[in-house]
């Protein structure tokens, strides 16, 4: 699904530049449930943005679903995002003047699905996430967990192969966080690749693979079987 090799990314900071990703290699199979961890400023969001074609990279190669993602123009990038990727953000990023249903339906608007049809589909997705009664409410009238569930519905509605989530539980309390993780787990069980960024160990522990970033490269990959080990290590730390 995702093949990254020798990925470099630096940000221009006035006259000098900040080298964030330094020759990163990464492979993620279809249907994986991955969390990216690392200290603050280690480049987790940077990597996820590149994965989501929200940002471009300086060197290396990035294949998504077998296609080389490089130097796409804005229109192409937007189309690829719309078709292949669903985004979930820490701060939800719902459009404030649209109600829950309209927010969920938005990706289908850009696929030129008719209003009636996309609203109907949006309602189905909201129903699946237990939010049917909230369809007509504005984001400001929803709790954090509800907002994130609306955002998840929106990420799912275009049936993408990959869900990218940057700290999806960062703004939620632990009970709600676990609910959201349960939903993501379900989504993963239905065959979708899910990649989340988090710095909460118990959240990461709910995924099937943990990637630890350090100094712009992958320091460690902890696979499914080792998770128990990882948990114990965290507990002793």
């Amino acid at each position: 699904m995702i093949q990254i090799s020798n990925l470099h990314k630096s940000y221009a900071m006035g006259s000098n530049s900040l080298h964030v990703l330094k020759g990163l290699n990464l492979e993620i199979e279809e249907g994986e449930f991955v969390s990216i961890m690392g200290s603050s400023g280690s480049g987790k969001s940077t990597l996820l943005n590149i994965l989501g074609i929200l940002d471009d990279y300086d060197r290396g190669t990035y294949y998504l679903g077998g296609k080389l993602i490089q130097g796409l123009n804005e229109t192409k990038a937007a189309m690829t995002r719309n078709e292949m990727i669903g985004f979930i953000f820490q701060s939800f990023n719902l459009i404030s003047f649209k109600n829950a249903m309209e927010n969920v339906a938005l990706p289908l608007y850009y696929q030129k699905v008719s209003r009636k049809k996309r609203n109907q589909i949006a309602l189905e997705y909201l129903d699946r996430l237990g939010l049917k009664e909230w369809a007509g409410h504005l984001p400001s009238e929803l709790s954090g967990g509800q907002k994130q569930r609306v955002a998840i519905a929106r990420a799912l509605i275009s049936k993408p192969q990959i869900i990218l989530a940057d700290e999806p539980t960062g703004a939620l309390d632990s009970a709600t966080s676990f609910e959201v993780m349960d939903i993501l787990k379900d989504i993963n069980n239905q065959g979708k690749t899910v990649i989340i960024v988090t710095h909460e160990h118990d959240i990461a522990a709910m995924t099937k693979k943990i990637i630890r970033l350090k100094d712009g490269v992958i320091e460690e990959v902890i696979k499914n079987g080792d998770l128990q080990l990882f948990k114990e290590r965290i507990l002793t730390e």
Binding site: N49, G52, L54, D55, E74, T75, A78, M79, R81, N82, E83, F87, F89, Q90, S91, N93, L94, I95, S96, F97, K98, E102, L106, P107, Y109, Y110, Q111, K112, S114, R115, R154, S158
Partner: protein
């Protein structure tokens, strides 16, 4: 662009930001409103003045004589110049710049009109048949003087309506005889013009006037129409040529305004209309200026909107909005607001001018307000359409910069958590 969904998307944005939309539209509505008021007023003034000219043919010219004030070819000043019938023939036959000619002989003293027991003193004008067209004499009944009346010096008269009323009361005057002093004249027509101040003038053939009132071939004034020209200079040169001809015939300096006075309406008309042309251009400049201020206002507000909506636009882009669709969104919103707001301004402006027009018409119909130099202060269809086109174009212009800015919004920049 004609996708219903795009419009629904725009409408839902506008509907949820009503105040913002209202404020944006107001400046444009105001601009176009002012343009309409200014243009309408300009038109009203122009029409009012045109109306004043319309009392006669615009290409009419009057000539009269007096005493010379400049010595000429050995002749001293102070000579009295007199027109005569030969001058009429000269003007009629020889001068190809002239179309219609009518001469007038002033009847001596006060003429007493008598019909049965009614009598009164009224003004009488003597003329050729052509005067009807030249001074736009309107008849309520009967006919005007014709060539036969003139050639046979018939004793016929076209009575002014108020004279008819004074002498005949409710009676029909046509075919009856009124006495001018002691001479009976047959009434052949009645003239009436509500707009005309000198509605008291009655008309008789100039030949009859000369014969009955001992005028011999004396002519006091000429009314002539010149050929139509487009510049005041051409009109002035026609005047000069006519003066030249008469000066030669009567031996006076063509520059001597006392010896022969003249007034060429066409030259005045062209000059006046030129002033209005200038006023119109001025009004357009002011109006467009106001409109540009409106456009800049809209553009500014749209820029602020785009900034405010950076996050929203970022979200849209992350979810698959192409730059083109973002441009369309902003541009169409701008065009929609400008067009609708402008249209409202247009309607209100035109409505007010129509209202004023209605009031004026009512006043005129009631017989008042004839001294007001203001008529039909409305904006024509072409101007309104032009304004609409200007509006749509300005909406696009106003939206262009903000739209480009919106299209360049980078999703990551927009989505970064600033807090």
């Amino acid at each position: 662009m004609f996708d219903v969904d795009v419009w629904q998307e725009i409408f839902s944005t506008i509907k949820k930001n009503k105040l913002r939309t209202f404020l944006t539209g107001f400046s444009v509505a105001w601009g176009i409103f002012m343009l309409m008021i200014l243009l309408g007023s300009g038109n009203g003034l122009q029409n009012g003045v045109k109306e004043q000219f319309a009392e006669n043919s615009v290409n009419i010219m009057w000539m009269w004589t007096g005493d010379t004030s400049i010595p000429y070819q050995g002749l001293k000043e102070g000579r009295t110049i007199k027109f005569n019938n030969a001058d009429y023939n000269f003007l009629k036959e020889k001068d190809e710049d002239l179309e219609l000619v009518s001469s007038r002989y002033y009847l001596p003293g006060n003429i007493m009109y008598t019909y049965k027991n009614e009598y009164g003193s009224f003004e009488t004008s003597s003329c050729h048949p052509a005067l009807k067209e030249m001074e736009k004499v309107k008849l309520t009944s009967g006919r005007f003087i014709n060539d036969l009346d003139l050639n046979e010096s018939r004793k016929v008269i076209v009575l002014a309506e108020n004279v008819r009323k004074a002498l005949f009361k409710e009676e029909d005057a046509i075919g009856k005889y009124v006495k001018l002093n002691t001479v009976p004249f047959k009434v052949i027509g009645v003239s009436f013009d509500a707009k005309r101040r000198d509605g008291r003038t009655s008309y008789i053939p100039v030949s009859t006037a000369q014969r009955i009132f001992n005028g011999a071939d004396r002519v006091h004034t000429f009314a002539i129409t010149t050929k139509m020209v487009n510049t005041a200079e051409e009109a002035d040169s026609i005047t000069a040529k006519v003066r030249q001809g008469m000066a030669q015939r009567h031996k006076f300096d063509p520059k001597d305004k006392r010896a022969m006075g003249s007034f060429n309406m066409l030259a005045e008309y062209i000059r006046t209309m030129k002033i209005f042309q200038a006023i119109k251009i001025f009004v357009w400049i002011i109006g467009i200026g106001t409109l540009i201020a409106g456009i800049v206002g809209v553009s500014n507000i749209m820029l602020i909107l785009v900034k405010e909506r950076t996050r929203e636009i970022g979200i849209r882009k992350a979810l698959g909005a192409s730059p083109a669709s973002v441009i369309t969104l902003v541009l169409l919103e701008s065009i929609l607001i400008t067009t609708i707001a402008g249209y409202i301004g247009l309607l209100v402006g035109v409505g007010i001018m129509e209202g004023i027009n209605y009031g004026l018409e009512q006043m005129l119909a009631a017989g008042g307000g004839e001294r007001i130099f203001f008529r039909n202060p409305t904006v024509d269809f072409t101007t309104a359409i032009t304004s609409m086109v200007i509006l749509v174009v300005s909406g696009a212009l106003a939206g262009y910069l903000p739209a480009r800015k919106a299209a360049n919004v980078k999703p990551i920049e927009a989505l970064r958590d600033e807090n």
